[in-house]
Symmetry: C2
Subunit: 412 residues, 2 copies
């Protein structure tokens, strides 16, 4: 029988009643003829409670013990989901990460999935079991200890199972009903997308649209797993939610798929840097070593052998970046007059695979912002994305203007 993977997040299994509702969805897919692999998160709030206990117990904690404690949340939901399905007379059983076993690296609390053997579960399907319920977010290290995959790891678990079993689709049930052209809280014209390409979703995820975890989208792209995001709280027909899929599966699309934003970006400017070959390496080497995630970089035109160098990084890494730069200056590796941090900025981006074959998107974007008198501080582009840093107070205005400009309120 074809295999379907269904993943239910914490809010979708927050109570016994919601677990029952999720089980009914599973039951419908079983009736549709699928063998179903269900991935469950911990009941909403449970993981935070467990993490809180660990943090209250120890300042610098042993991540192996952290994982043993925190993974118990998914274990409970998996058992309860299996019991609920059995109560509906659907043959089901639960598997914890170590029982599959979902083999991971030893990087506790942020382990990478290395292998998912399928024979054990496949044998049960062959014997008539219809649903395998898997505790998400967890696996087994080579040393035989429980690992967790880090926050959002249940999405990644779901995609990895879909890849391992060659599932027809991986449905991610969550508290939103799909991926939107932009944040509906910012633009009332935001429209749910029927389909979006992996590459676009990856750019949107990393830009702060918190629907899917970046790693899960990367994995889906690598193994070409058709990923559907849909709501646990609505009745879904066949075209519900948003399908994240390969570019080839998208016949018609707008040039721009969505407008994303992020408030958590800071603009850092090194003023009057001595400009010489290798200066970029001298600056960004120490920043990388200090764990600063530099996103955008702009270098001004050099004047009399000195230049200004501007970059952006997450707001919470500003002090780390400042320390790294001061140290490099003390060591004599770089020489600059001043370092100015501006945290009152926002990043706004347009994303779309259509840009590849469509010239002039950048020009159109800049013109739309100019028409609103919004000053652009920094620009970066990739093949399918254009991002600008602007004053934070103009963020909502910019998002709305760009949404209108690229006609995102209308389907292609």
């Amino acid at each position: 029988m074809p295999v379907l993977v269904m993943k239910f997040g914490g809010t979708s299994v927050a109570t016994l009643d919601r677990i029952r509702r999720a089980a009914k969805r599973v039951g419908r897919e079983v009736a549709n003829g699928y063998d179903v692999i269900v991935i469950v998160s911990a009941m909403a709030g449970k993981t935070n409670e467990l993490v809180g206990w660990v943090e209250e117990t120890a300042t610098f904690f042993d991540a192996r013990e952290y994982d043993a404690v925190v993974s118990s949340g998914e274990q409970v939901t998996a058992g309860l989901m299996a019991l609920t399905l059995q109560e509906m007379e659907i043959p089901a059983r639960s598997w914890q990460g170590w029982q599959v076993p979902l083999k991971t690296s030893s990087a506790h609390s942020a382990a990478r999935i290395e292998e998912i053997p399928t024979d054990n579960i496949q044998q049960k399907f062959d014997e008539g079991m219809r649903v395998a319920v898997i505790a998400g977010f967890q696996g087994l290290s080579p040393e035989g200890r429980i690992t967790t995959l880090g926050r959002g790891g249940s999405d990644t678990t779901a995609v990895a199972f879909a890849a391992a079993f060659g599932a027809e689709r991986c449905d991610i049930y969550t508290d939103v009903d799909g991926v939107y052209t932009t944040d509906p809280r910012i633009s009332g014209k935001a429209r749910k997308l029927e389909k979006i390409a992996f590459e676009e979703m990856l750019e949107l995820a990393s830009l702060g649209a918190k629907v899917l975890q970046t790693r899960s989208v990367e994995l889906a792209m690598r193994y070409n797993v058709r990923l559907r995001v849909l709501s646990s709280f609505e009745d879904n027909n066949e075209n519900a939610g948003t399908l994240v899929c390969a570019e080839e599966d998208i016949v018609e699309s707008n040039v721009v798929a969505g407008v994303a934003y992020s408030r958590d970006e800071a603009k850092m400017t090194l003023i009057s840097v001595a400009d010489r070959p290798g200066i970029a390496a001298a600056i960004f080497g120490p920043l990388a070593e200090a764990g600063v995630n530099v996103d955008m970089i702009v270098q001004n035109i050099s004047e009399e052998g000195r230049t200004d160098m501007t970059f952006s990084c997450p707001t919470d890494q500003v002090s780390r970046a400042e320390r790294a730069m001061e140290e490099a200056k003390e060591k004599g590796d770089i020489n600059f007059h001043d370092l100015v941090a501006d945290t009152d900025v926002a990043k706004v981006s347009v994303v779309g695979i259509g840009m590849r074959s469509h010239a002039g998107v950048a020009a159109q974007m800049f013109r739309a912002l100019k028409d609103e008198n919004i000053n652009i501080k920094v620009i970066t582009t990739s093949e399918i994305k254009i991002s600008v840093l602007i004053d934070r107070k103009y963020m909502e205005l910019a998002v709305q203007a760009l949404h209108d400009e690229f006609g995102l309120d209308r389907a292609a």
Copy 2:
């Protein structure tokens, strides 16, 4: 290094603060030069919460899923205890049942321990680890699924580990400070025993003194594990608590060690049973098959080929016993006039290994009850125990009278 097993029950690890207090006790034993194996229960209330969820989810539940859900409670405590010890700079790590692996039968929710391999943990001790924290109450079935040992299973886990590691002693930390000559709530003269023999403890446990679980005492007796019961809530010196040990280790003792009671016993009388060879088998066979735990049995003197047969069983099995007897009557296996159930009774027992070498204890007991005008309804005796069934309203009076009669307020 010598090994010590320390077990902490649910109330002893109910909060992070109590876990810290328990960890301090462990730390003291480490400082005393022991390698310590700590067995933990779930935080008080957690197991009930998990069981409640399972019962609310399914009427007839799959015990394998029940075990997966319920065992998560101990898993959390084990991780938190290991973290707490590490925070005190004591080398420690946690093991869940399946990691040891504590191998059990497949009888989910009531599994029997079959084997505890020691090499894995011993190797860590050899490498410098000082405390192994074990999630109690759980193990691994031959099918690779989590089993639980049933309520009180953490005591049994502790004793089994003590036996496997040849531990010097198994300390059971609980919310009482030892075993008493009788229930202190009934007699103000109740005295804590310094030592008690396994056999006596077994009789007391099965008679309703809820300090230790019967199975754990049986196991301790079989493997001669010195078992100490003591309080988590008091400062304990070396002679704290009560040591449950082999008879040989008790030099001086009273003839009677304790007076126990049970309110949960019902008296059942089959009136006017046709008396013939094999009638006892015809009655007690069906009762055993129906799962009725018959305790005391009395047969009246036969008159004209008919007799009255009285037995006792737990109050909550009365209707089951009645059904079994009615069915046997319908089938023609037995013939009786009426079955009368009296649930207004109580069982009072005196227990002591000294009875073996001391005649006249029964006579002394009956006289003491007669002096208080307490009528005895049924009597049974074993080598080290005499039990009587009396009207429930006299129960406390009987316990106090017997406690005085056998001088239990004074040490031997």
